[in-house]
Symmetry: C2
Subunit: 483 residues, 2 copies
């Protein structure tokens, strides 16, 4: 989902009344980012409070490449990483993940081995060739065992786009909340649904209800679900004791537009890129009685902050034995303070850009290769900023491209290198980047090796269901990451 | 000002708390248009309820050219046109225009000859070469006579961007409202301020207060002023008896970006074009106690509707002796009804595009000429949709380019000509266009002839001020309209 997909963020059809109301009762964060323009690394960052280049969710197979956790990925979240639910446990929290895990699907990476007490959802994304031959269909787990597979037991009609998965995930969330409220135990619910990822789907009751086509139907279903979750918290009388945060793991994918692609509002490009459209996210914080209603914050935020902020809410300290990139946003959210901090935009193993205040400096620019682009793969459809949305990986490290995101949120007008403004801004930014690089200790890259043998052929529980498939012989290879 | 310039419409710095509050107390109209992507024709349409091609605010000097009323324009609003204030007079309204008139500056076009009772403002825009030699500085009128000139008596500091004009216009509005309330006479106030037109200015107290630079400062000052006007109505106890509508006369000008250019949100291109960015406008209706608070409407609206809607509010009928393009929006605004009507996008004498429902068909496409473009004049900076943002005036009348604005608000993905959806939509659109063209009676074009002798050399009242300038000899010529 993209920054521009919500009515409160200016989507012209304004079809998200529940999220808009959530914003009017809570706080809109307009300058909130993901840690990576792609799903898995972004989620790894959220749960560890650390940049993907630290927690291992990146590749060194090639320079500045986006990588994630497809079915044949060998790596996953290292045991050495401390995940938010592991830490929350110490404060008595019961932790549940509903939806897409995406931090590795081999046994050692199972969410219940990394702090979660319950899981209902899938280890990988719901796309695939869906034939159970070359690739197995993705399993859906309840806790330790699979209970079926997408497209087989959990239907997704690729022709009509009908699937009731969001409803299933919603019910699972409502039930978990009720159970926790009844047992008076504090809880962390990570509601990480698949929608609106392509192939886009929505339940029957939402199909055809949006001006925006199937993608809009999916957004409406999410909006409706969030509304039901918030109302459920209110009905149970625990809304003033529950912090809720809504955001997305990367900018809207524009390659699947217009029928399955979302909106990044006025920003440049989309998912896969380190332009604003790829990494600036819709974000709403909600906590009635604590967060002043109708608030707006320009605090530079990041999904990694949800790690630190959640710990703070639970009265816990972040780990002191490692670099944590997330900050505690509570002073910004509760007291309207502005904390000075940079935002780093990574693509794989490369820091492509950095934002400090209203300035964003691009040290490298790339959309995708000419080769891909010539095949119709376009991360910036209809947009072309000369020297910025480049189709070769361009280095600007000696003279970064600098943008003023206040005057130029669309990154169209690089500041003149000889201007005093450029000199002044870059002086500060250079110091920050230098320090960042000097102290950077990259983690072991987890997204380098692929092997078809590790795919979801025979997940635990497959025997009971008669759904075990025979894996091919192990043949580990360097994963190929084209962009 | 553009669709994307307000917080409520998704501007990322969200610096318009008063307009956003106006929206939350009233109704946001998300599909509201101007009648032309340029100032004068748009304003002529607003005040006559008729398309510029009918009321004469267009040119036939060349095909599909934008034209307006610069200082050397000979034409202006014809006496045969019935303006909103002329009609409101019949219902006892006192009518005032504050700000830019722009419907011709020669004596016969004076606003007080066309229904207004009072005027404080200028006949033309505040730009110029500002030297009082080749071009006189634009006069500022109080009613029948000029009381000074821009840059001389009404300062605009082009270096700092400081000018207190919006404050002067605000005070004038507050005074007029107070006077009318005291005299218990109904009033029509047309608050048509110059800001945010380039060269952009703001008062000292707003300079440097925006994340968006000088343009943002100007937007903030407008926002603040609207807030004060609405509060004034409330303080006087007449808010429930006063209908207020906020909109703009064309999309944000992108040629003056980033320092002086606004935002058209997710839409394509800007001012001067018939893409959504050129003609879709921010629009808010406010009438406490009548318009349900927090409403959102997808009614296709147009500035021309303000003519018909205002007459309706005053209990008057629109003239029946001529074609009126505006419709009465009250059923949409007060009762949430959706009235089926097309939106026509004209550039000069050519219908470039038409919107019917969510479909928009382009019969002609043009941004500007290669010649202009090569000089750096760009109405679509950073945007390039192949075959759509064309630099030659392209005809598509036999096979219009069709977009679904719900799925594709940015006009990036033309529908396939051979699709059933295309056939179905175009069938309906073709009928509407055919009828529109068959019954079209163009007015006498007013924007064809220019003559330096008619400029604001010696406006009435100049003698008293010693500010009369000697006009050159009359030398009427065809005006040159480059795009």
């Amino acid at each position: 989902m993209g920054w521009g997909d919500l009515g409160a963020f200016g989507e012209p059809s304004k079809e998200t009344p529940n999220l808009d109301q959530m914003a009017s009762e809570g706080m809109l964060l307009l300058d909130f980012y993901t840690a990576n323009p792609l799903c898995s690394p972004s989620r790894a960052a959220l749960l560890t409070g650390r940049l993907p280049v630290r927690n291992g969710f990146y590749t060194t197979n090639a320079h500045a490449r986006n990588a994630y956790t497809p079915q044949d990925i060998v790596g996953g979240i290292p045991d050495s990483e401390l995940l938010l639910p592991e830490l929350l446990k110490k404060a008595g929290y019961i932790n549940k993940i509903i939806g897409k895990w995406h931090l590795g699907h081999r046994p050692q990476f199972h969410p219940l081995k990394h702090g979660f007490d319950e899981w209902f959802g899938s280890p990988n994304c719901h796309f695939g060739p869906f034939d159970n031959r070359a690739f197995p269909n993705i399993p859906v787990y309840r806790d330790w065992e699979m209970i079926g597979r997408y497209y087989e037991d959990f239907k997704i009609d690729r022709k009509t786009g009908e699937a009731n998965l969001t409803q299933i995930y919603l019910q699972e969330a409502l039930d978990f909340i009720s159970k926790q409220q009844a047992s008076q135990q504090p809880f962390f619910l990570y509601w990480a649904i698949d929608a609106t990822h392509a192939p886009v789907y929505a339940s029957k009751q939402f199909l055809g209800t949006s001006q925006r086509g199937l993608y809009g139907d999916a957004v409406r279903e999410i909006d409706d679900s969030i509304g039901k979750i918030l109302k459920h918290l209110q009905k149970l009388g625990i809304s003033e004791n529950t912090f809720v945060f809504f955001t997305s793991d990367n900018g809207a994918a524009l390659i699947s537009a217009p029928k399955q692609g979302g909106s990044n509002g006025p920003f440049l490009c989309g998912k896969q890129t380190t332009f604003e459209g790829g990494m600036r996210e819709p974000a709403i914080a909600w906590w009635p009685g604590h967060i002043p209603a109708g608030g707006v914050s320009h605090q530079l935020g990041n999904v990694m902050d949800l790690f630190t902020t959640s710990l703070s809410l639970a009265g816990l300290q972040p780990p002191s034995d490692r670099q944590i990139d997330g900050i505690d946003l509570l002073p910004a959210i509760l007291q309207g303070k502005l904390i000075d901090r940079p935002i780093f935009y990574y693509r794989g193993n490369e820091m492509m850009a950095v934002r400090v205040g209203l300035y964003k400096a691009h040290y490298w620019t790339w959309s995708n290769s000419w080769e891909e682009y010539s095949k119709g793969i376009d991360f910036c459809p209809g947009q072309n900023v000369s020297g910025v949305t480049t189709h070769t990986l361009e280095e600007h490290t000696t003279l970064p491209l600098l943008f003023h995101l206040g005057m130029d949120p669309g990154e169209k007008y690089p500041l003149s290198f000889v201007s005093a403004e450029y000199q002044r801004a870059m002086e500060r930014i250079s110091d920050i980047v230098q320090q960042h690089k000097a102290t950077m200790v990259p983690g072991e890259p987890q997204l380098n090796v692929c092997d078809k043998a590790v795919m979801n052929w025979s997940p635990p529980g497959c025997e009971k269901l008669g759904k075990c498939l025979k894996p091919p012989k192990s043949d580990p290879k360097k994963c190929f990451w084209p962009h």
